[in-house]
Amino acid sequence: MRKIILSLLFLFCYREAWLQKAGEAILLDTINVHNLYSDSIYASFIHSVTNSKSSRPFTLYLWNSRTHAIKLEPSFASRETPSSEAVFIKPLSTFMDRYPLILRRDTANRIIEAYLATSPVFTLEIKGVEIATSILNFSSKHDLVSFPEEKIFIPYGKYFNGDPDVIKGRDNKSYDKSMNALYKDYANQIIALNLRRMSYAISTIKYYNVDIICADQEAVEVISEPGFQDKSVKEVKIKAGSKQGIIPGRDYSCYAKRNVGSQTYYEHLDNIEIKSVEESSSIATTPAFNGRDLAKSFKAGDIIKAVPRYDKRALNRLNMPAGQKTINLSIRKDCLFCENEAQQLIINNPSLNLIERNAPELKYFSSLLKDERFIDYSIDDLQGRQSGYRLLITFEGNDVIATDVQTNRIISNSKIQKKLIDFSTTAGFNVDDLSLILSSFDPDNFSIRVTDVLEQKKEKINTVLMYNPAGFERVTKFEIYKEESVDVDGEKMKRKIIIGNGKIGKIFSSNLAELNVKDGEAAVYQAYSRKEPVFVQYKN
């Protein structure tokens, strides 16, 4: 009997080891490419991605973001693999044949200089969606190539019999004629400049590979050295390697676990760069003038974690308390890359899962998981796990409306503060607005609360610690209040009594900050000493 069990166990282990893991589907948008330069850079980018020697399996698709059509990149025609994540890439190129004519004027509105402003960029907007759940994993923007503005000066008098702007307003045909003549004369100069920059762009792009696009979003453990005595750390060992998706050259930030009041958070120490990677460990080095804080933490025996630099969600996930509830929500939008400001704010918050419903392409990848061709892949755990959303956020003008999908109830309606120059629908949507929505929806788990008293002098409380799952912004003002129960026609109603004001001081982590109490330090102390519950709210 024992032999049978052992052989079955062995067979199971063998099968698990034999099965291959699903990889990444990289979808490159093809509709933005429109001229010789952009085409060349784009082709070079595809070449670079195609030839990546990645630690993870991936398949490259050519994608049309308007029609949602996808097709395999020819070199992947015979090596398509199932994917666990779809990475959508939207390139933007501003290489042009005709750069805009800029006129600089003095205070008397006289033209000082006229030039063609050339500052081409090649930018990638990237969104990663988990295929099994439709959760938006990450959203980032990479400026692959960005050149400083180079001016091509124009003797405008040669082409225009006066002020070009006046001529444009008065006689558009004549203006166009002059501009055509101008561009004809300067065509060679523009081509030379573009080619020079293009060759530089292509040489930069060749270092861009799949691992950079699909880099993992997890925090990893830094191995501290017992008995460390130096003043500065030059090299650190990380408890994760190629198996965990660590890649050489990637920047990480180190954080040490700290306590404040009854809460814990991670404090920034130093930045590191991965130098060499083994199967389950890596070596990273600190840049110049870094490493002193790491050394102090090594000596103190702190718990140290490394988080991909600039990855706010990974850092915030590290700081999220274990019992914090999560909410699945979605934003009403018309395309995958729309409403970016609000999306980024939500993605950065690990207690929120943003469900993507504007990517019908995901259906194709879900269907691949059922394809018999991929019987050798471990994909059972990727099926039947699609996530629905409970909260729907709609932006209309300055209004933000949150609806509970379960009951169709409008949970909150608030106005966002937009600037005159904000054209995007979601611009101006910030942490305060998000906090209002979340606390209206689930006040028990998403309300701002005072957790500890941090500073107290005689009979005054000067600083308290606050926790807000939605996050904090600097210099935000709050009101501190207590509640009293009032009887109105037999109904018990709560009445807020403002006992003090406060302003955000030090922000420890995305959800933990100190509140410096102004006006009412004594009243706050009295409330605390009487063990009366004290609350906080945004000051209007």
Binding site: G388, R409, I410, V488
Partner: protein, 281 residues
Amino acid sequence: MENKSKIILFFLFVAFILPGVFQDRLDAQTQTQSRIAIVGIDIIKDSSKFFISSGMDDYNSAAVLYQVPNACIEYFSNFKNFVAIDKKNLSLINMEKELQKSEEFIDGYIVDQGKDEGVDYLVKSLYYEKKKNLVIRIYDIAGGNVKCSKEQKLESNILGIKNINNQVRLMLHELVYECFGIKFTVLKGNEPAGSRLKHLTVVMGRKSKVKEEDQVEIFELVEENIDGEVLKRKNILGTGKVNEVVDENFSNVKIESGDKIIADALSKGKKLYCTIINEYK
């Protein structure tokens, strides 16, 4: 044996009666809130226009008028007496719920199905371009009739319609009093200087969509017996202005007229109420 039957009876009481009592209490609490849905605005064009306009004024007023449904949503959402139901996103929400029924979601997160809330009332707005009048109607779904309606010329100046959100909010305050008899209880008088009263604490706050500078009417309800039928008459005692919105439930009102009568009424223990006057300033 007798003890045993007593215990069984006790458990039966706990199992069947108590949950019923609590449920009734819960129902009573939720029943006080009416479910209300807001639909879009219809603009009735002026067909008698003979001259050709630049189109800009039409464009501006249309852009402003499309804010009316949103202003209604803002008014009714989180209002103490109402639950606002989202009609605008209904198709999207239904699509999402249908999607969640598929087998792809079998091990994933889904919302509870069948918890959609019905609507008791529907708010619809109309704008007559010729008269420049805005009409807001509240329809009773069960009765299938118009419960109440308010037509009003919108305040405007050379730049177009003035603060549409505030004008709609004041119209709705008048409507909800007419439709649902929603009035705000005067809790107590403040700062008694001699026999005169200057301020009142009223049970209306941010949840009642009250704003500072709102004009209020202070009144008592007098019961009149007409041919055996008891009717309530509104006896206006004075007016005031919202001085400070304290919190979600309470506001301070500065009395502007009738302070003596109001003080008298309060000292006699009479129940006083407030409503917001639909007067845009």
